[in-house]
Assembly symmetry: C2
C-alpha cells in the first residue's frame, strides 16, 4: 500500500542511524500510519525536537511547525509590517490566520480578522486579542464591510481565501499595500468563483501581491521558532489546536478544513 | 477654459523667475496649448533640460521622459532581471514595451514580445533586437502560444495588457517569477474582460505581482536618465516615436493609443 505522507510528529521506537535514538521525538514528513520507516536524507526534512523546551508534542507541528512558520514568514518576511499599520486577516480563526493576527498585534499593528461563525468571531476578539472581527457570512457586501472596519484603509492583507474577499481587500487597500497570498480556500475546490482583481487598483495604489510557501524560509526555521517559542512560553500567543482521535478520523478531519469546522490547527492523534 | 494637463516639453519664451531664462527648454506637466503659464513649484514637476546633451526635444518626453523612466524603473527596480532570465513583454511595440524589451536585452535576458500586427512583430525582431515576437491576434490560445515561445518558462512578465494575457503569462511562469504591473490596456476601456488569475499558480510558484508608477522613482530620474542617455547615444537603444502634428490631432492621437495604431511613444507636436 502506498504511504500517504503528512507533516507529523512522532517518537523514534528503533533506529539504525547514529543520528536518531529510541525515545527521540522527530517532526517532518511522516506517513498516515502507526509506524513510519524512513531513511535520513535532506528530502525527508526530518528534524529532532528539543524535548527540553517542554512544549506539548502537538505544538511542534502547529505553532512551532508549518503553521507557525507560514504565519511568521508570511507576515514578517513577505509583508514586513510597521508599527501602526492596518492588517486584515481572512480565515482568521484557522491554523495560520489565528497566528498571523496575534503576531501582527505583537508587531504593534491594528488587526481585524474575519471568520464564518459567531463563535469564531468572539474567539478572535475575546481570546486572541484581535482589535476587531466580523462574520463574513453576515456581510452582503464585503467591500463596504471592509470599508467600515478599515476607514483608513488596509496596509497588509494576509490572503487565505481568494474570490470576492481578495477583490474587496484590494478595493480597500492603501497605497503601497502588500498582500501575502498564502492560501485560497474558496478556490481550492472549484466551488467558489475565482478572484477578478482590479489591476488598475494594483497599479495606481502600487500594490504588491506575493505568493509564498513557508518552505522557502526553511533555513531560518530555527530562528523563527526561537522567537515564537518565547512568545508561547510568555503567554503572548495563544495556541489553537483542534485534535481528532485515531486514523479513522482522517477523512472527516480533512473534509472539515473545507467546511470551516476547525478552529486553529487541525491535528489527528494516532497514538 | 480649463487647461488640460499633459507631460510635455517646451521652450521658455519669457520668465519672471530667476530659475528659468528665455530659451531654456523644460519638461513637465504643461498644458495642451501653444503657451503655458506656470509658477515654479514642486507640484509642477518641471525640470530644465540639458540642451548640451544634444538629444532631439522629443526624446526628453519619450525615452528620457516618462516612458523611459517607466520602462527602466519597472524592469530594473521592480523585476530585478538576472542575466539569462526569460522576459515576456506585452504591448511590446508601445512606448514603454519597446524600451523594456531593449533594456532587458542589454541586461542579458532572453526577450519575447507580443504585438497586434505583422509590421510591429517584424519591427520587434528586426529593429529592436527582441529574440522573438508574435502577433497575439493570430494565437487562438495564448497559454499554448507562450508555452511555445517559452519552453523553459517565463521569469519576468512586464504587464501592459491585462485580461487573458495575464492569465496565460501566469500559467507559464517559473518559480519566483515576477510580474511588473505597469498597465492594463485591455481593461482601461472596459471593453476587454478582466484577468482572472489563478491564485494557486501565484502561491505554488511564489509569484510576485507588483503595481508601480514611474513617479515613485522620481528622486532617481537623473540617475536612470544618465544610463539611458548613454545607451541612446551609443546606438544601443532605438527610440520609437510616433508624432502627430498640431493641436487638432490630439483627439485622434489619443484614440489611436487604444486602437493600437501607434508604434512607440505617441507624441503631438504643437509648434
Amino acid at each position: 500500500m502506498k504511504r500517504i505522507p503528512s507533516y507529523a510528529a512522532g517518537e523514534v521506537v528503533a533506529s539504525a542511524s547514529p543520528e536518531y535514538a529510541a525515545g527521540d521525538v522527530v517532526v517532518g514528513v511522516l506517513g498516515w500510519e502507526d509506524y513510519t520507516l524512513f531513511k535520513p536524507s535532506p528530502a525527508v526534512l526530518m528534524s529532532k525536537v528539543d524535548a527540553s523546551a517542554g512544549f506539548p508534542l502537538s505544538h511542534h507541528i502547529s505553532v512551532l511547525g508549518t503553521s507557525g512558520m507560514t504565519a511568521y514568514s508570511g507576515l514578517f518576511e513577505v509583508c514586513k509590517p510597521a508599527k501602526g499599520e492596518k492588517v486584515f486577516v481572512s480565515a482568521a480563526s484557522g491554523s495560520v490566520g489565528s497566528l498571523v493576527g496575534q503576531f501582527a498585534k505583537l508587531a504593534g499593528c491594528y488587526v481585524v480578522g474575519c471568520a464564518g461563525t459567531k463563535a469564531k468571531v468572539d474567539l478572535l476578539k475575546d481570546k486572541l486579542g484581535f482589535d476587531d472581527a466580523f462574520n463574513y457570512k453576515e456581510e452582503p457586501d464585503l467591500k463596504s464591510a471592509l470599508k467600515r472596519y478599515f476607514p483608513d484603509g488596509i496596509d497588509i492583507y494576509f490572503e487565505n481565501v481568494g474570490g470576492e474577499m481578495l477583490e474587496a481587500a484590494l478595493a480597500n487597500m492603501n497605497t503601497y499595500g502588500r498582500v501575502a497570498v498564502c492560501g485560497s480556500i474558496s478556490e481550492y475546490t472549484g466551488a467558489g468563483r475565482r478572484a477578478v482583481p482590479d489591476l488598475l487598483e494594483v497599479i495606481y495604489k502600487r500594490i504588491t501581491l506575493r505568493g509564498f510557501l513557508s518552505w522557502d524560509f526553511l533555513p531560518r526555521f530555527a530562528e523563527f521558532n526561537a522567537v515564537i517559542g518565547d512568545w508561547v512560553r510568555q503567554g503572548k500567543v495563544q495556541v489553537m489546536e483542534d485534535v481528532s482521535d485515531g486514523l479513522e478520523s482522517v477523512p472527516s478531519a480533512f473534509a472539515e478544513l473545507f467546511r470551516g469546522h476547525n478552529v486553529g490547527k487541525k491535528l489527528v492523534k494516532l497514538a
